[in-house]
């Protein structure tokens, strides 16, 4: 994936859906590759007997730290070459297990105008192939005004 084209604040409408980002189906190499990349050896992601017998989990879990990357990727790509993902929050409310396919979604909730750029509040989440939501959250993305400069970088938050 990559940054999308420039997206201006005026191009966005409340209720607009962001293009879904699909990941999976997850296999043990996916999880081991992530564990190795971040040097996190938490057994619940690769040691099935430990996950089930010791931690009483239903199976090997897709890392929350990996799912959060997908949320940020969705927003980053949507913000485009002149925007900026300012804030994001999410809760891991349900587990996702090996074998699942995940869809990361986002929906524009509200538009706000600041002095130098516009702010887009987004509702988001991750659903599995059974439609179960695991990662509800919200984000705020800054987008340039049409004909104006890119959002300042490094990002400068609007005055409170």
């Amino acid at each position: 994936m990559a940054l999308g084209p420039r997206r201006d604040f005026e191009d966005v409408q409340p209720g607009e859906q962001l293009p879904r980002l699909i990941k999976g189906p997850f296999t043990s190499p996916h999880l081991m590759r992530w564990s190795a990349a971040m040097e996190n050896w938490h057994k619940i992601h690769y040691d099935k007997p430990f996950a089930i017998e010791h931690d009483k989990l239903p199976g090997l879990l897709v890392n929350g730290s990996l799912k959060q990357q997908y949320v940020v990727q969705l927003l980053k790509d949507w913000a485009g070459t002149a925007g900026w993902v300012w804030k994001v929050n999410f809760q891991f409310r349900a587990m996702n297990l090996l074998g699942e396919t995940l869809a990361v979604w986002g929906k524009v909730a509200e538009l706000r105008r600041a002095t130098h750029y516009g702010l887009v509040d987004i509702e988001l989440g991750i659903v599995n192939d059974k439609g179960i939501e695991s990662t509800p959250g919200k984000a705020t993305v800054a987008l340039p005004y049409r004909g104006g400069p890119a959002v300042p970088y490094p990002f400068v938050p609007p005055a409170a």
Partner: protein
Amino acid sequence: MGILPEAAKAYIGRQSEEEVACDLVEAGQVRRYAQAIQDEDPMFGAPCAANQRFGGPVAPPLYPTHMFRRPLGAADPIQDRATDPDFDGLAATTGQTLPEIEPLRKFALLNGGSEIEFFRYARHGETVVMRSRYTDIYERETSKGPIIFVIIEGEYRTAAGEVLCRTRRTILRR
């Protein structure tokens, strides 16, 4: 009767030293990271039009939060706890000097979520520093029984002091 040991609350307010990531933002590690998160964005590789705005090749947005690994010569929990049947394999990955909450050592750990504020990407070749602290530790009754919530705030900067991102993580212990 709750499950939160009273002694655990003494950790509220404790913070890490200012830590310097043991490695620079390095192209090979950024590549492995980008491949692992399945986001092979060209701006994470060589100089290109997409990363010109950011001053050259950069790391993925959350990369700085995963840079605080065990430096050479530091204690090795994987070896030190090799015969501990309760060791879950989890070594510090978000900071080496934020003390482990000893009264919660035998509680399982799950990631409960995060709030993150981004200001800038880390560029290849930069050094990243961070500081984190326990801002709250409390227990709440849930549909799955009592769970302990541990809140950790962190700030990640470049060596020159520019803020990359701020985080507020919720860790669940049960």
